[in-house]
C-alpha cells in the first residue's frame, strides 16, 4: 500500500463490486495484508500515530476474532453433540471438581489476563504515551477553534488565520443537483500544513463542544469551550485529507468538515506568504471608505456564508431557535449611540458579541471588520428592512 494514491476518499466502488467483497469479510479481518480496502477498515494512515493505531487495531481484531471463533466453536460443538434429539443424557455437574478440572477452568482466565494486560495492554500503553506527547520537539503550532458550524484556524508563528466552512451547495444536499466527488467534505479555506513536521495542535471552541477528526491522522480530540486541549500530527505524505466534526454540536453538526492539505516545506512557506499578503490586503480594505452599493454586495456574500444557515437566505430565520431578521426590532433599531459608541443589545452588539446561551456567537472573533460592517449594513437594508443607514469597517475597528 505504499504506492497509494494520496487522495483519501476514492470514488465509491460500484455496488456490485462491494457485494462481491461481502463474501470474504472474515478473511479480510484475519489477514493483515487484506486490510487495505477503505470499506472494511481505517482509511490508509499518513501519520506515525495513525499507522500505530491501525496496526494495533489489526492485531486486536485478530485476537478477538480468534477468541470469538474458539469460544463459539466449543459452544457449537456442544450444541451439535449434546442435544436431546440425538439421545444425549444430561450430566449432573454444576462446577469444577478435582484438581484437573480446576486447572482447566482457570487456564482460560490466565490466558485472558495475559491477553488483556500484556498482549493488548503493553502496545496500548506505548501508543497512549506517544499520542499524548504533544510537546517534545514540536516544529510548529496550529490552533483550531470550533464554532457552530465551522472551524477557525490560526498559525501563531506567522499570524495567518482564517475560517473554514463547507462549500457543498445547498442544491446538492437537497438533491436538486448531482452530488460532487467530495460531497460534504469540501471547504473554502483548506488548512495547509508542511509534510514531515511535527505539528502541535491546540484546540478550543467558542460555543459548544466540537471534535476535530481526520481519520487518516489517527487523532481525534474534543474542542471544549473555555479550555485548551492538544494533540499532534506529523503528516508523512503530501495530499488532501478530509474529516468531520465528530461531536454532536447542534443543527449543522453534519456539515462542518475538516480539510487538510499537506504540502512540501517550500510550498508551505509560499502559501504562508500568499496568505499574509491576502490578509494585509483585507486589512487595507478595512481602512478605506466603502459605498452603500459595495457594502450591500459584500454583505450579501458574507451573510449567505456566515448567517444564512440559521437566519435563512430570506431573513425569516427558523423561530423560535433562530429568530427572523426581517422586521426584527433589534435589526431595525438604532445603529450606534450619537457619540459613536456601542449600544448594549443593539444590532451591532449582537453581531459582534453574540448572545450568551444561544447559538448566536460573537462574530468579532471570526469575521473581519469589512465582513461585519457589510453584514450589518446588508441586514438593515434587506428582507424588507429599509433603514437606509450603513456602517463603515473603520467604525467596527474602533469598536473592537
Amino acid at each position: 500500500m505504499t504506492t497509494l494514491n494520496p487522495q483519501p476518499h476514492q470514488p465509491a466502488l460500484p455496488f456490485r463490486h462491494r457485494l462481491s467483497l461481502l463474501a470474504g469479510p472474515v478473511l479480510a479481518l484475519a489477514s493483515g495484508a487484506a486490510f487495505a480496502d477503505y470499506t472494511w477498515n481505517f482509511p490508509t494512515p499518513v501519520t506515525p500515530i495513525g499507522r500505530d493505531t491501525l496496526s494495533m487495531h489489526n492485531q486486536f481484531m485478530v485476537i478477538i476474532t480468534v477468541l470469538f471463533v474458539v469460544v463459539f466453536a466449543i459452544m457449537i460443538y456442544s450444541m451439535i453433540k449434546h442435544r436431546k434429539s440425538t439421545g444425549a443424557r444430561p450430566a449432573k455437574f454444576s462446577g469444577p471438581t478435582g484438581a484437573v478440572q480446576w486447572f482447566w477452568t482457570l487456564v482460560p482466565f490466565a490466558m485472558l489476563l495475559f491477553i488483556d494486560f500484556v498482549l493488548m495492554g503493553i502496545p496500548a500503553f506505548h501508543a497512549v504515551v506517544d499520542m499524548e506527547d504533544t510537546r517534545t520537539k514540536a516544529d510548529m503550532v496550529l490552533k483550531v477553534t470550533g464554532l457552530q458550524w465551522k472551524w477557525k484556524y490560526e498559525y501563531p508563528d506567522s499570524g495567518v488565520q482564517f475560517v473554514s466552512t463547507l462549500t457543498t451547495p445547498r442544491e446538492q444536499i437537497e438533491g436538486k443537483e448531482a452530488k460532487g466527488e467530495h460531497y460534504l467534505l469540501e471547504v473554502d479555506n483548506e488548512v495547509v500544513l508542511p509534510v514531515g513536521k511535527k505539528v502541535r495542535i491546540l484546540l478550543t471552541s467558542t460555543d459548544v463542544i466540537h471534535t476535530w477528526w481526520v481519520p487518516q491522522f489517527g487523532v481525534k480530540r474534543d474542542a471544549i469551550p473555555g479550555f485548551l486541549r492538544e494533540t499532534w500530527v506529523r503528516i508523512e505524505e503530501p495530499g488532501v485529507y478530509r474529516g468531520q466534526c465528530a461531536e454532536l454540536c447542534g443543527k449543522d453538526h453534519g456539515f462542518m468538515p475538516v480539510v487538510v492539505r499537506a504540502v512540501p516545506e517550500p510550498e508551505y512557506a509560499a502559501w504562508v506568504d500568499k496568505k499574509k499578503a491576502e490578509m494585509s490586503a483585507a486589512a487595507a480594505g478595512g481602512d478605506k471608505t466603502w459605498t452603500m452599493a459595495e457594502l450591500l454586495a459584500k454583505g450579501k456574500e458574507s451573510y449567505e456564508k456566515n448567517c444564512a444557515a440559521c437566519h435563512q437566505p430570506n431573513g425569516q430565520g427558523l423561530p423560535p431557535a433562530f429568530p427572523a431578521l426581517a422586521g426584527s426590532k433589534i435589526v431595525t433599531g438604532p445603529l450606534l449611540s450619537p457619540d459613536g459608541k456601542l449600544i448594549p443589545d443593539s444590532h451591532v452588539d449582537r453581531v459582534m458579541n453574540g448572545k450568551t446561551g444561544t447559538a448566536m456567537q460573537a462574530f468579532k472573533a471570526t469575521l473581519s471588520d469589512v465582513d461585519i460592517a457589510a453584514i450589518v449594513t446588508y441586514e438593515r437594508n434587506s428582507f424588507g428592512n429599509t433603514k437606509g443607514d450603513m456602517i463603515q469597517p473603520a467604525q467596527i475597528k474602533a469598536l473592537r
Binding site: I64, V71, M75, K179, G226, F227, F255
Partner: protein, 532 residues
C-alpha cells in the same frame, strides 16, 4: 381437585379489587403491576423503534430527503431515552415484579403501594419526554431535546424547551426506578422462603439485587447533574460554563458516572435470567452458581469506576487515560466467567431448542461480539479512531439490542406460559427469532465498517463513500422493526388463549416458580414454601 387446593385457589381468585380501569390504577398486586410494566415497555419499544426508523429512512441515501437536521437530532436522542428508560428498564422491572416473589416464595413485593406508584410515574414521564414533539406542531417551542441522550453541556444549555422537558422526565423516571429498587431490595432481603440463603437464591434475583443497588448509587448523581444543567439554563449558575468558573467536562463525568453502570443495570437482569433458561433447556443444573453471583458483584463494583472511557477523546491526563483503560479491560474477566458458566452449563447437557433457548443462544453469540469490541474500545489510542463513530453505535447496539432486548425476549418467551397459562406459538416464535437475528446483523454489522471508514455518529447526511453500507443498514432496520410485530402478535395470541400450560411448563425446570400453577393464583405464596 382436592379440597385443600380448591380453598387455596378460591381464595386466590377471590381478590378484593375493583374492576375495569380502576383495577389497574389502584392495584398493589405484583403480577398486575408486572403486567403493566411489560405492556408499557412493549408499547414504548414500538414508539422508540418508530423514531429510529425515521432516522434510518433519512440515512438510506446521502442528501437530506425527509427531515431537517434539527428534527433528526431530536429523533436520535429521544429514541435512546425512550428505549433505555421507557422500554428496557420497565421490561426488566416487569420481570422483577412478576418473578421475584414467585422465585423466593413470597406472597407479593414488600412494599406494594410504592410498587403501584413506581409504575404510574412512568406514563407521565414518557409523556413529558415526547410532548415537545406535539407542542412544536402547535407552534410552542422548537421540539424535543436535540442534544442526543447524553445531554452534553453546553449544547444542552443552548437547547430549547425540549431540554427542560427531558430533565423533568429524567427526574420522574429516576424517582420511579429508585422506588422500584428499594422495593426489590426490601423484598429480597426480607421475604425469602425459610431455608433460602442468599447464596441459594436464584441467579435472576441476584442479578436484580446488584442492579437495584447500582440504581440507588448512580441515579441520584444523574438527577444532580441534570438539575445543575437546569440551574445553568435558567438561574444563571455556571457549573458547566468556563466563563463562570465551571467546566463542560464536569457534566460528562456526572453523566457517565450514572451512564456506565446504566449499561450493567440494563444487562444484569438479563445475565440473571440466562442461566435459568440454559439450565432448563439443557436439563442440567446451572454451572458455577456461586461464581456467577460473585461476577455480578464484581461487574457492579467495576462498573462504578470506569466511566471516563466514554470520553477518552476529551483530553484527560495520561495517568487518568491509563487508569480508565486498564480498569475497563479488567471487566472482561468477570464477564468471561459468565460466558464460561453459560457454555459449561450447556456442556454435556441434553439440549432442545425451543424459542427461549434460541434467543438465549443468539444472545450469547451476539453479546459476545459486543463484549469483544468493548475490549478493543477500551484501548485509548485505538479508541481515538472508534470514538464518536458508527463503530461505537454498532458496539452498543450489540450490547443493548442483542444483549438487552433479545435477553428480554428470551425471558418473555420463557415465562409467558407461566404468566398466561397458555403456550405461545412455537412456530411464530422461531420465525421471529430467525428474522430478528438476521435483520439485526444486517442492520448493525455494516455500521462497524462505517465507523472504521470514518463516518461520525449523529449526522443526518454523509459523504458518498458511506452510501452502500447505510443503504444495507436501513433495509436491515426496517426488516428488524417489522419482525417485532410478529412478537407482539405472538404475545397477544398467547394472552388471549392457546394450548394450556402445565405448572412446570418446560421439561427441565427447577425452582419455586414452577411449583405454582400456570397462571399462578392472584396471591402467590400464601403459605411460605421451605427450601432445603
Amino acid at each position: 381437585m382436592n379440597t385443600a387446593t380448591h380453598t387455596l385457589d378460591h381464595h386466590g381468585d377471590h381478590a378484593h379489587h375493583p374492576t375495569g380501569i380502576l383495577r389497574w390504577l389502584t392495584t398493589t398486586n405484583h403480577k398486575d403491576i408486572g403486567t403493566m410494566y411489560m405492556t408499557f415497555a412493549l408499547l414504548m419499544f414500538f414508539v422508540g423503534g418508530a423514531m429510529i426508523l425515521g432516522v434510518r429512512a433519512e440515512l438510506f441515501q446521502p442528501g437530506l430527503q425527509l427531515m431537517k437536521p434539527e428534527f433528526f437530532n431530536q429523533l436520535i436522542g429521544v429514541h435512546a431515552l425512550v428505549m433505555i428508560f421507557a422500554a428496557l428498564m420497565p421490561a426488566a422491572t416487569g420481570f422483577a415484579n412478576w418473578m421475584i416473589p414467585l422465585m423466593i416464595g413470597a406472597p407479593d413485593m414488600a412494599l406494594p403501594r410504592l410498587n403501584n406508584w413506581g409504575f404510574w410515574l412512568l406514563p407521565p414521564a414518557a409523556l413529558l419526554l415526547t410532548m415537545p414533539f406535539v407542542l412544536a406542531l402547535f407552534g410552542i417551542g422548537d421540539g424535543a431535546v436535540a442534544t442526543g441522550w447524553t445531554l452534553y453541556a453546553p449544547l444542552s444549555v443552548q437547547g430549547g424547551i425540549g431540554v427542560d422537558f427531558a430533565i423533568f422526565s429524567i427526574h420522574i423516571l429516576g424517582i420511579s426506578s429508585i422506588m422500584g429498587s428499594i422495593n426489590i431490595i426490601a423484598t429480597i432481603l426480607n421475604m425469602r422462603a425459610p431455608g433460602m440463603t442468599l447464596m441459594k437464591m436464584p441467579l435472576f434475583c441476584w442479578g436484580w439485587l446488584v442492579t437495584a443497588v447500582l440504581l440507588i448509587i448512580t441515579l441520584p448523581v444523574l438527577a444532580g447533574g441534570v438539575t445543575m444543567l437546569l440551574t445553568d439554563r435558567h438561574f444563571q449558575t455556571h457549573f458547566f460554563d468556563a466563563a463562570g468558573g465551571g467546566d463542560p467536562i464536569l457534566f460528562q463525568h456526572l453523566f457517565w458516572f450514572f451512564g456506565h453502570p446504566e449499561v450493567y443495570i440494563l444487562l444484569l437482569p438479563v445475565w440473571g435470567l440466562m442461566p435459568h433458561v440454559l439450565s432448563t433447556f439443557t436439563r442440567k443444573p446451572v454451572y458455577g452458581h456461586t461464581a456467577q453471583v460473585w461476577s455480578f458483584i464484581a461487574i457492579g463494583v467495576l462498573g462504578l469506576i470506569v466511566w471516563a472511557h466514554h470520553f477518552l477523546t476529551a483530553g484527560l491526563p495520561v495517568p487518568a487515560l491509563l487508569y480508565f483503560m486498564y480498569s475497563t479491560m479488567s471487566i472482561s474477566l468477570p464477564l468471561a466467567v459468565l460466558f464460561f458458566c453459560w457454555i459449561a452449563t450447556m456442556w454435556r447437557g441434553s439440549m432442545s431448542f425451543e424459542t427461549p433457548m434460541l434467543f438465549a443462544l443468539g444472545f450469547i453469540v451476539l453479546f459476545g461480539i459486543a463484549g469483544l469490541t468493548g475490549l478493543v474500545l477500551a484501548d485509548v489510542a485505538a479508541d481515538a479512531q472508534y470514538h464518536h463513530s458508527y463503530f461505537v453505535v454498532a458496539h452498543f447496539h450489540y450490547a443493548l439490542f442483542a444483549g438487552g432486548i433479545m435477553g428480554v425476549m428470551t425471558g418473555v418467551y420463557f415465562w409467558l406460559p407461566k404468566w398466561t397459562g397458555h403456550m405461545y406459538s412455537e412456530k411464530l416464535g422461531k420465525l421471529h427469532f430467525w428474522l430478528t437475528v438476521i435483520s439485526f446483523n444486517l442492520t448493525f454489522m455494516p455500521q462497524f465498517f462505517l465507523g472504521l471508514a470514518g463516518m461520525p455518529r449523529r449526522i443526518p447526511d454523509y459523504a458518498l463513500q458511506f452510501a452502500e453500507f447505510n443503504a444495507i443498514s436501513t433495509v436491515g432496520a426496517f426488516a428488524l422493526g417489522l419482525s417485532q410485530l410478529l412478537f407482539a402478535w405472538n404475545v397477544w395470541r398467547c394472552v388471549k388463549g392457546g394450548e394450556k400450560a402445565s405448572a412446570e411448563v418446560w421439561e427441565g425446570t427447577d425452582g419455586l416458580e414452577w411449583q405454582l400453577s400456570s397462571p399462578p393464583p392472584y396471591h402467590s405464596w400464601e403459605t411460605q414454601p421451605v427450601v432445603k
